[in-house]
Assembly symmetry: C2
């Protein structure tokens, strides 16, 4: 398999799932701004909308949309236990993939990282944060992970909450979420995935002359969609 990714974007969740599943994969770096791939090709020949991730299967088939890729990996590698197998459990997993994908990723974080979004748009996106994260914190109370034990939905949520670093969203407001993220980041496969992508992320940012989180004393502006 081959994963087309942009560093620390939502495609990080697919890399985490691959590592947690113990699956073999190559990784193709897509520059978030130019859409240039490692080999100099244009990623839009793979996905015309330019959005990551895409997962290329051994037979050449291309899978897109993170929620679909995550469930594919969980079901292809069932021994990793990354998704429940009963109908209620599967439904609960899909609830979380949908909530993170729509209410958090697209409804909140996407505009915060979009260079075409004005300050008014970013303020609107930020206005959606509080009720959604407060509800999420209530749901996570007393649980280590969204479904009790780690699943691909956590790969997505950890990736998403990790973006708070580069936004005005202060996770300190929700100690449950802060503890959840800390727990997630401590997982060896998550830590490895981030350690590998962070230098690439900084290279992408440097090419754009942008601030880097944790070094510039102010939130980073990421150049394109998370």
């Amino acid at each position: 398999m081959k994963l087309y990714f942009s560093p620390l974007s939502c495609s990080l969740a697919a890399r985490i799932a691959l590592y947690e599943a113990g699956a073999e994969a190559e990784f193709v770096h897509v520059d978030r701004a130019t859409k240039a791939m490692d080999d100099g090709g244009d990623y839009r020949t793979i996905h015309p909308l330019g959005v990551v991730p895409t997962l290329r299967l051994e037979d050449g088939e291309l899978l897109t949309e993170l929620a679909a890729i995550l469930q594919y990996l969980a079901e292809r590698f069932p021994e990793a236990g990354l998704a429940p197998v009963d109908l209620r459990g599967r439904t609960e997993l899909r609830k979380w993939l949908s909530f993170v994908g729509t209410e958090l990723h697209k409804g909140t974080f996407f505009p915060l990282f979009d260079r075409s979004a004005s300050e008014a748009v970013k303020a609107y996106a930020l206005s959606k944060v509080e009720p959604r994260l407060s509800w999420l914190a209530d749901q996570l109370e007393g649980r280590d992970y969204l479904l009790g034990q780690f699943s691909v939905a956590d790969a997505y949520l950890i990736t998403t909450l990790h973006w708070c670093l580069a936004t005005p969203v202060r996770l300190e407001t929700w100690p449950t979420l802060k503890a959840y993220l800390k727990r997630g980041l401590a997982r060896p496969h998550v830590a490895r995935a981030i350690a590998e992508e962070k230098p690439l992320y900084m290279e992408d940012l440097a090419r754009l002359g942008e601030h880097v989180p944790g070094t510039a004393g102010q939130p980073a502006r990421i150049s394109s969609s998370p």
Copy 2:
């Protein structure tokens, strides 16, 4: 089962899926602005974020998030053939549920119907329409439905494209999408669902003193999230 819905919002897709599956259900109307239910109760006691749909199962369990509810119905009523059963087919279904939920519903249409969104926010949302619908039209070329035959992903896409009526998005730009929507609206279960919800939608709007699409000569402002 009991479906909590707001007329012509995304919960319409769950009603369509119930009808297509031949499933028995009651329907509880949630006023999109006040969140009051038919019986006078506050819907936020069912879902604190106030978003529809919620599906209450026979044992009282509450399912939320449309993509999860649609897959639940497809898998609970397999004889209706509303979802593929093989891994590749399931992955394709989930791709479409995710694309419609994130890129179209939350990323484009949600802000157009949100009373808290300024004109700048709506203009930003509209700027995302063209590439996404053009890509979608390319994908649908030569196909009756997203997966060839009707699935729950079509219930969601038909519901979403139907909102164009109340927005500045002119579906005439994409004849493939216009023909797709016409085909979908002609399905008896879809037509029934819309015919039942339309009067309720107009009542909700009338309570708000808003324009109604097709009668006021200009796009309707829907009061809350689609």
